[in-house]
């Protein structure tokens, strides 16, 4: 009766992450460069006899990392937890805010200057104020700092995504006499989804940075930021650097996870 396309019938029908298309050279090249830099650093510190308080050798840092693996992991858990909660809350606020601003023009116009202001002021600068607001014994201030840093890029990206709804899709919804909430659910949010996750990927490192730096200004101990300041204060520079490495790994972890999530959610959004 009806013919099925013979060519298309053989195609893969499972969704795939575009990550499978990444070539080895793109991963190996930066790794190689990193190794060279570490090697050069080690040689430089060794030959030029640089004092540890100026720049400790990678080997010395590594010694501290292995010796303090437990405390570094604990610190990363504390800081990571603040960053994660902040990121999730900030993402929710950003997406909801963008959904409202995308629906009502006047909200967008009212919010624009506020968002622009939030985008330029360093949010961490608010940390001391927040500590006095919520008390220095809790992590609330840090979570808020991380949350606000995330909410802004997520809001801006989501709003951009909402504006990408195709005219055909809008016509289709009108033709189906869909209600405003149905339009948002069926077309607007799915269109914006990849943009949301792009915003989230950009914001992920901000969340870690914000949660970390906020610790410099006080609050409960245990996080990586506090550990960095206290080991630097007691002149244990290799240990301070060991905590810094922990922070780098934590930031990378956030970045890679959000990147994978972003790739997953944009897998069907390749231009048709």
């Amino acid at each position: 009766m009806t013919a099925v396309d013979p060519v298309a019938a053989g195609r893969v029908t499972r969704p795939r992450l575009p990550i499978t298309e990444v070539r080895w050279s793109t991963v190996l090249a930066p790794l190689g460069l990193g190794a060279l830099v570490v090697l050069g650093w080690e040689l430089l510190v060794d030959r030029a006899e640089i004092e540890p308080f100026i720049l400790p050798a990678p080997s010395a840092i590594w010694e501290q990392v292995t010796a303090n693996a437990g405390t570094i992991t604990d610190g990363a858990t504390v800081t990571g937890r603040n960053a994660l909660i902040g990121m999730l809350a900030g993402a929710v606020v950003g997406v909801l805010g963008a959904a409202v601003a995308g629906t009502f023009r006047f909200v967008d116009q009212m919010a624009a200057p506020v968002v622009a202001a939030l985008a330029v002021i360093p949010i961490v600068a608010l940390a001391p104020v927040l500590y006095s607001m919520f008390g220095a014994a809790v992590n609330t201030g840090r979570i808020i700092v991380a949350g606000v840093s995330v909410a802004v890029p997520v809001y801006l990206n989501t709003l951009r995504g909402i504006r990408q709804v195709r005219a055909v899709h809008r016509d289709l919804m009108t033709a189906y006499a869909a209600k405003p909430l149905q339009v948002i659910r069926t077309v607007t949010l799915p269109t914006a989804t990849p943009y949301v996750f792009t915003g989230l990927r950009v914001a992920s490192s901000l969340a870690v940075i914000a949660a970390l730096i906020a610790e410099y200004f006080g609050g409960p101990i245990g996080g990586l930021g506090k550990s960095i300041t206290s080991s630097a204060a007691s002149s244990n520079y290799p240990l301070a650097w060991a905590y810094v490495s922990g922070a780098i790994v934590l930031g990378l972890l956030f970045y890679v996870v959000t990147l994978l999530v972003e790739l997953w959610f944009s897998r069907h959004h390749r231009p048709a």
């Binding site: 009766m1 009806t2 013919a3 099925v4 396309d5 060519v7 298309a8 019938a9 195609r11 893969v12 029908t13 969704p15 195709r166 055909v168 899709h169 016509d171 289709l172 009108t174 033709a175 189906y176 006499a177 869909a178 149905q182 069926t186 077309v187 799915p190 989804t193 069907h268 959004h269 390749r270 048709a272």
Partner: protein, 277 residues
């Protein structure tokens, strides 16, 4: 509205104008257009680019508002007809939602209008069978060829068994072979559902093969220059047509008639002109 059901024309357009912009930049997309599409009738709109075919279709679909004139769908105002979901629509671009599976796209109108899950499932299976895509229910649009995507869009337009189908160059992006196959399928689907169709196309043979009547339009300002009744040329009604209609004499006669209307020249002698294409 006093006429019994089924007697109302599917579409009636009277004295419709559509003017875009104002002042010097004003574009008269449609001028004084009158058109009636009977219930169950297949009518094609053909004409050069920019003559207002899409505009007319969008007015009927209530996606745009006429500057003046009256449009009715099954005797109701177009807005009411849209709210009552009296028509199904397919655009030139398939317009599928890329994040939904083929099945998810086809069931979209049913879902929006609150059909139960069981009812949706049964209907989707039926529709995918109709367009020959049962094996692709779980695929995503980006895994389908252009022709297959278009078939999904047609299945979606048919989902709620509308008595009127509006189609804007649905086969425009397809190659000739797929196109003819889709035309055959469309004839079969229309015969099965008995729907009236308003069909926009750029192709004369396509218009003639599919239609009961072909409406020829001219641009600047967009207006109807003539209507060719294909049945009067000796072809059977659109619903009873088979592939063989493309080889019949009446087909070529109608093609020649449409072409001479499009070019604004008087009917040439048939034998020479008709066999060209």
């Amino acid at each position: 509205m006093s006429t019994p059901a089924g007697m109302e024309p599917a579409i009636s357009v009277t004295g419709v104008d559509r003017v875009f912009g104002k002042g010097r930049k004003q574009v008269v997309a449609l001028q004084d257009v009158d058109l009636t599409v009977a219930d169950g009738e297949f009518v094609s709109l053909i004409g050069p680019s920019g003559c207002g075919k899409s505009t007319l279709l969008r007015l009927v679909a209530d996606l745009d508002t006429a500057t003046s004139g009256d449009l009715r769908v099954f005797g109701k105002g177009v807005r009411q007809a849209r709210l009552d979901q009296d028509y199904g629509i397919a655009f030139q671009q398939a317009g599928l939602l890329p994040w939904r599976t083929v099945a998810g796209n086809v069931e979209l109108p049913l879902r929006l209008h609150g059909a139960s899950a069981a009812m949706r499932k049964a209907r989707v299976a039926e529709l995918l069978d109709l367009v020959g895509l049962s094996d692709f229910a779980k695929s995503h649009p980006d895994q389908l060829s252009g022709g297959m995507q278009q078939r999904v869009a047609i299945a979606r337009a048919l989902a709620e068994s509308p008595r009127l189908l509006l189609m804007d160059e649905p086969f425009g992006a397809l190659d000739e072979i797929t196109r003819e196959r889709m035309q055959n399928e469309l004839v079969r689907i229309c015969a099965e559902t008995g729907a009236a169709v308003l069909f926009v196309t750029h192709s004369i043979p396509e218009a003639v093969f599919l239609s009961d009547r072909v409406v020829v339009m001219s641009p600047r300002p967009g207006r109807i220059t003539g209507i060719v009744d294909v049945r009067a040329d000796g072809l059977v009604g659109a619903h009873d047509r088979t592939e063989r209609a493309r080889d019949e004499e009446g087909f070529f006669r109608a093609v020649a008639e449409v072409r001479s209307l499009l070019h604004g020249t008087p009917m040439p002698t048939l034998a020479a002109e008709g066999l060209e294409k």
